[in-house]
């Protein structure tokens, strides 16, 4: 177990990795990545029970699916920093002949990735499939997912949410990155999500809500609590209230940095706000 300080130091390095990846190729998605840096750090360092060697089948270990694949910079950083592949490989993000494609894929064989994502709304179904197979295999490990809140506008999610609730897929812990922003503006401006909690409850899910979605302790507590209520005939969702662009002041509380890279000056400012703790790649 890491201390809170160790986790926060880890997050600081992840933020640097995110900024440096997108800056280097002048493309990618820093806003959502930064907003989920704490979630990924806690999930991969403290929660997921995985084997030392990555295996596509994920038997007898927890598996994770990222449905909103555009936040690949945070995924890649945390995978690299937890030993899935060399940290130096972050240098290849979005470049030709790289395993670190713009959106995550299995196609290039990057350890840690079990499904391609990017076209939104598909991850929940995939996770349900993996959860059903775990049940058939009598494998008591869990399936975790992350989804964007704007992504909930995709209809396939609701097919999947209905199925998981109705069929009691109770070895699944989904998390929604509830930052209330999407490409064109706030979710309220684009297409209001309504009461997400009530919607999940109506579909038969257990819902946990985390107001401080960028607080590593709050995230840890929520994931720990979620684990304790698995196996009760209900899928679980955590509504994680996050701040898009968290940790870089000029990127926070706006959709403007959804898919835009910082320039040199902005990078310097962002890095100055987040000390190098584990060594830059």
């Amino acid at each position: 177990m890491s201390t809170t300080q160790q986790l926060e130091d880890f997050v600081s390095q992840v933020r640097r990795d995110i900024l440096r990846q997108v800056h280097q190729v002048n493309s990618g998605h820093p806003g959502g990545s930064l907003g989920c840096a704490e979630f990924f750090s806690v999930l991969f360092k403290e929660v997921l029970q995985t084997k030392a060697q990555f295996n596509m089948d994920g038997k007898d270990e927890d598996v994770f699916f990222l449905s909103n694949g555009h936040i690949s910079p945070v995924y890649y950083s945390v995978l690299a920093r937890t030993g899935y592949f060399p940290v130096e490989e972050l240098n290849t993000f979005r470049k030709i002949d790289s395993r670190l494609q713009g959106h995550p894929t299995t196609h290039e064989g990057l350890p840690g990735i079990r499904i391609a994502s990017g076209s939104l709304g598909q991850g929940m179904s995939v996770a349900i499939g993996a959860a059903l197979t775990k049940k058939l295999n009598k494998d008591s490990h869990l399936v975790y997912t992350l989804h964007g809140d704007g992504e909930m506008q995709e209809g396939q999610n609701w097919e999947a949410i209905m199925y998981a609730g109705a069929k009691g897929v109770d070895n699944l812990i989904a998390t929604v990155d509830y930052n209330k922003q999407q490409i064109d503006g706030s979710t309220d401006d684009v297409l209001p999500l309504g009461n997400l909690k009530d919607k999940f409850v109506a579909f038969g899910w257990d819902v946990l809500e985390v107001e401080e979605g960028n607080n590593v302790e709050a995230i840890k507590n929520a994931l720990t609590e979620a684990k304790t209520i698995t196996g009760n005939q209900k899928p679980i969702v955590i509504l994680l209230h996050t701040v898009m662009g968290n940790g870089v002041d000029f990127m926070m509380h706006t959709h403007a940095w959804h898919g835009k890279a910082p320039n040199d000056e902005q990078l310097a400012s962002g890095l100055a706000q987040n000390p190098e703790t584990l060594g830059d790649y």
């Binding site: 991850g123 179904s125 499939g129 058939l136 199925y163």
Partner: protein
Amino acid sequence: MKIYENTGNKDTRSGFGVGLAELGKSNPNVVALCADLTGSLKMDEFKANHPERFFQIGIAEANMIGIAAGMTIGGKIPFTGTFANFSTGRVYDQIRQSIAYSGKNVKICASHAGITLGEDGATHQILEDLGLMKMLPGMTVINTCDFNQTKAATLAIAAYDGPVYLRFGRPKVANFTPENQTFEIGKAVHLQEGKDVSIIATGHLVWEALEAAKVLNEAGISAEVINIHTIKPLDEEAIIASAKKTGAVVTAEEHNFLGGLGESVARTLAQHYPTPQEFVATQDTFGESGTPAQLMEKYGLNAASIVEKVKKVIQRKA
């Protein structure tokens, strides 16, 4: 010429159902998913024998495709079942990203393909599915011709590791291929040796091609008949060899002439051995309501149409 006996009309979808039931017994990793069409897909026996491995998804095809992709993680071999229209066009992006691009071992099994779905009309009669599926990198595309071949194909695709689209149909049609045949994915089947023209057919048009060959034989035209059950990967060698022998080709399929078997054959010949070719296929049109036989006649998808195209292509021979 070889005479093929119809051992009794049967639907190809029942061949799938029997094959799936057999797989249920022989392969514990096989799971079946259905989107509210269990009876139509003939999945009842599998469901009855293995309720724990049968997943009723409801009318939610996109979710079914995603769940199937996820189920491969941990070693299951999912067979999804619904109509061809809802197996492909409706869920193209789900297949593309979660199955094909992700390289998942899912078998997309599609019944009621083509115009012979009949009375339900064009909303349900997909004539574009072969094209959609063959364009996906890594996708194997199979269109079987009768009950026995569909059963054999169902068994064969379970043993193959990779995404597969298996297309079959609704009506009862001639059952004429051997009962316990070995199905080789990607391998053409020579049904009739001939020297004047090559009829290259898939699906329900294979029996029609054999009927056409009989008529042509009486008219003194020797037709070679090749069954291409695997549209992709295509047995190019067999097609080129036959074209070299006969110098004229007619392709026949229950599909749009854009994107189907005919175009794959034309592309192969254009690259390796340019040969006059005629197409028995629908002509960039939607279908309509009617009985299968009426529709096959109206849209030119029968033996008479093949005979007509053979006569035309022979006139084009240099």
